[in-house]
Amino acid sequence: MGYIPNTPQEQQAMLERLGLQSLEDLLEPVPEEVRLRRPLNLPPALAEPDLKRLMTGMAARNKSLDRVISFLGAGTYEHAIPSVVPHLQRRSEFVTSYTPYQPEVSQGMLQAIYEFQTMVCQLTGLDIANASLYDGATALVEAVFMALGPGGQGEVVVSAGVDPQYRRVLRTYAHARGFSVREVATENGVTSLAALEAAVGPETVAVAIQQPNFFGCIEDVKAIEPLVHRQSRTVFISVTSEPASFGLLASPAEYQADIAVGELMSFGNPMSFGGPALGFLAARERFLRLMPGRLVGQTVEEGGAKQTGYVLTLQAREQHIRRERATSNICTNQSLLAVGATIYMAALGKEGLRELAALCLHKAHYAQRQISALPGFEPAFSSPFFDEFVIRLPISASRLQEHLLQYDIIGGYDLGRDYPDLADHMLFCVTEMRTRDDIDRLVAALKEVAA
């Protein structure tokens, strides 16, 4: 039955060995008063071919991105996944293993994570990185916890240019854990320097800025940094949800960020309706003992051979050792996605990352120029942008989306959902996956509704 190998006859023999008559006898420890004396109310079992038919049918009810041309980004990005990535990432020795508690038979996963930690440091320019976190939003929360320190209190300043979902998650955690969050408005699509300057004070434990920000705009992080670090103990957290930008934009280390967090799912992993995602967190060396989650370290054998090996290390920070005084409660993380991102980054390589960023940049700017040339479609901001941009529409975003769907095009994100003053504004994303033809088809469809 299902994936239970032993037959009823075999189970009977095992029961007899225990001096029992039936499977029911095994349940004696469960008091009668809490026993469920009816079958669960669930659909009946399905054979494999029937289940495949059912679920393939459900999948076919979705317009997946192989069937439409999408201009959605807004935190989740469509980047090409080279075939080598899933072929290697899905090797069953990786997929079916647990957190590598026994390093002697888990060197593969441990070494891959060590490589992941290194690559995150290479992307961000920072000193140390951990083995992954749930997603970019919770990575931001963990960075704030690091800034607060154990039991610490204070205020976190967050730009309104940070992904609204990230900010919502931060507020949820802030309420429970007990700290305050102050948001700083944007101006022309980027964080208002004046508002930021006014918001940062002695009680500010951290400032979080997204680069490029949620509108796709490139923040002047070089101008922001001195405003943050004017308070010597304020931690500058940079957030990046579009990692392709690391190929062209100044690295967090280059603009003096203390902690860099964000989302790496789009590097080698399918977007899968938004999850599982891949939060990353890198920091300066001094945050080592405050790091959340797993850390893999290099070491050598105990014996004489002293062969190189890898282990989970500094576990004294973690929940299973330090319990209520742990730096975080995270246990299960996103290791397999980290392996995927590692293979992806190895495949892309030093030059490839730069090329990827340039493709995204140029294609997005081409699209923005084409769309802006249509009557009624106007760029909302004049700030520089990476591969997303905001356009004021001549009709409502939802009506436009419906119009585009006729052509199997999914337009950008409706900003009115998060920013009331940006109703009828759409955030378009153009990565290397969109061809000129795709863009021209979008523009042609937009033209039909142009003012």
Binding site: L65, G108, D135, T138, Q307, I410
Partner: protein, 501 residues
């Protein structure tokens, strides 16, 4: 042999991935991005060819043990077989290639799947409603405590600041309590029953009941023992105004047998990567949906999948009392697809059989190992899906520890039990066979465990110096922590050993 790091491979200018040609006019970079915001030093990612990548990560995979490699009796981790069918379902383009912000009309199947999965999980748990948002068990715990907090605050009882946690709880419980702004209060295990010390609970509730926000229980607990006082605990804590949280890490033992909701719990989390067989992926991803009773529903994070009268699925806002969101988007969808496939494969009778079979396998091992190893709480006649054996006898007789035995098991092509947990049992070896192992595998494990017990008496050195057949020997953990080397750097001493490039 060792495998060098990917950074030690390749050569300048090598490249694997190819990118589409630039098919639009390109303006000068400096005209698009202010020069001071451009990167000065390119990220020094590896420069390697595709064949190097393939061989490197193939070699790494060959240096890793998984359920597909062999028996994985890691207690409380429920390392059962991960069906390939479920992997295929999650990889369908119609599921894998969906953007989380697509218009609802274009993701009807995906919302439907989550809508139905919620209902299944609610039924399994005996709860009113489920949120699929949490990304892992610990994330579910934290979310559950946030709901409890919001509930108490809404009732004007925001002063409740204590969470009671047994001493055999998973480490995530106290850490989650802290993150939720609570103080964790430990309750000891009753040495007679292996269950919660009821005296201690009563006295705590007597003295500090007004402060108690919740109690977090795992039932069966990490000793593999079903706490028969569950209903009484629920009554006492509820009377004191507290809420009951059920840690679902051990839910594989109760499927179709009993339901947390029926035991009186208010919140429960699932570890879908345990109970519902989604693979653990070397540390994740998992998924930690939580189910709640009716009174907690208004506080759930949003959005929630819903269905209108025309049969259309949509994302419903959770209402004004919602705690907000605990992650971006709606959950680890790829994991949820696998869990959906799992539940539909088994159906109601099958899930019951899963739990029964897991319990049978655990009791069989416990029974057969009792001759060579001390069993924690031997007075409890039947364990649930797992049990705790100890190396106390071996430690006394020959200095062989639980860790030594764990390492020695690796030599026989098996993974080790969870060792030194729960903390309350000395030299603990927590063993969970799951329902997907054959009797032959269980018998092989028993045979090897007996052989190791024999070795511990006859030739303890072979156990103390194990493992002997693994790609590397025991590693220097102390060195790793004393001189942390968490990333490769240029100029770092090369991985040594003659290895094929």
């Amino acid at each position: 042999s060792v495998e060098p790091l990917i950074f030690e491979k390749g050569a300048p200018g090598r490249r694997a991935a190819t990118l589409p040609a630039l098919d639009v006019p390109a303006e000068p970079l400096e005209s698009l991005v202010p020069p001071h915001l451009l990167r000065q030093e390119p990220a020094p990612l590896p420069e390697v060819s595709e064949i190097e990548i393939v061989r490197h990560y193939t070699h790494l995979s060959q240096r890793n043990f998984g359920v597909d490699t062999g028996f994985y009796p890691l207690g409380s981790c429920t390392m059962k077989y991960n069906p390939k069918l479920n992997e295929d379902m999650a990889a369908l383009p119609g599921f894998a290639l969906l953007h989380p912000l697509q218009p609802e009309s274009t993701v009807q199947g995906a919302i439907q799947l989550q809508y139905e999965l919620e209902q299944y999980l609610a039924e399994i748990a005996g709860m009113a409603r489920v949120t699929l948002q949490p990304s892992a068990g610990a994330h579910g715990e934290l979310t559950g405590l946030m709901l409890i907090k919001a509930y108490h605050e809404h009732r004007g009882e925001g002063h409740r600041n204590l969470v009671l946690i047994p001493d055999n709880a998973h480490g995530t419980n106290p850490a989650s309590a802290t993150l939720a702004g609570y103080r964790a209060v430990e309750i000891k295990t009753d040495p007679a029953t292996g269950g919660l010390d009821m005296e201690r609970l009563r006295s705590l509730l007597d003295s500090q009941g007004r402060q108690v926000a919740a109690i977090m229980l795992t039932n069966p607990n990490t000793l593999g023992i079903f706490d028969r006082n569950a209903v009484e605990i629920a009554r006492l804590v509820h009377e004191a105004g507290g809420q009951l949280y059920y840690d679902g890490a051990n839910a594989n033992a109760v499927l179709g047998i009993t339901r947390p909701g029926d035991m009186g719990f208010d919140v429960v989390h699932f570890n879908l990567h345990k109970t519902c067989s989604t693979p653990h992926g070397g540390g994740g991803p998992g998924a930690g949906p939580i189910g709640v009773k009716e009174h907690l529903v208004p506080f759930l994070p949003g959005p929630l999948p819903a269905r209108d009268e025309q049969g259309n699925y949509y994302w419903a806002d959770p209402g004004p009392l919602s705690i907000g969101k605990v992650r971006a988007n709606t959950g680890n969808f790829g994991v949820l697809v696998r869990a959906y496939a799992y539940i539909r494969t088994y159906g109601p009778d099958g899930l019951l059989r899963v739990a029964q079979s897991a319990i049978l396998n655990a009791n069989y091992l416990r029974h057969e190992l009792a001759s060579d190893y001390e069993i924690a709480f031997p007075q409890v006649r039947l364990c649930q899906h797992e049990f705790v054996a100890t190396a106390q006898r071996q430690k006394q007789e020959s200095g062989v520890t639980a860790n030594d035995i764990a390492k020695r098991l690796l030599d026989f092509g098996m993974y080790a039990p969870t060792v030194y947990f729960p903390l309350i049992v000395h030299e603990a070896m927590m063993i969970e066979p799951t329902e997907t192992e054959t009797r032959e595998t269980l018998d092989y494990f028993i045979k090897v465990m007996r052989q190791i017990a024999h070795e511990a008496r006859a030739d303890p050195e072979v156990v103390k110096t194990a493992p002997h057949t693994t790609p590397v020997g025991r590693l220097d953990q102390a060195l790793a922590a004393r001189r942390p080397n968490l990333r490769w750097k240029p100029g770092q001493e090369a991985t040594h050993g003659l290895g094929q490039p």
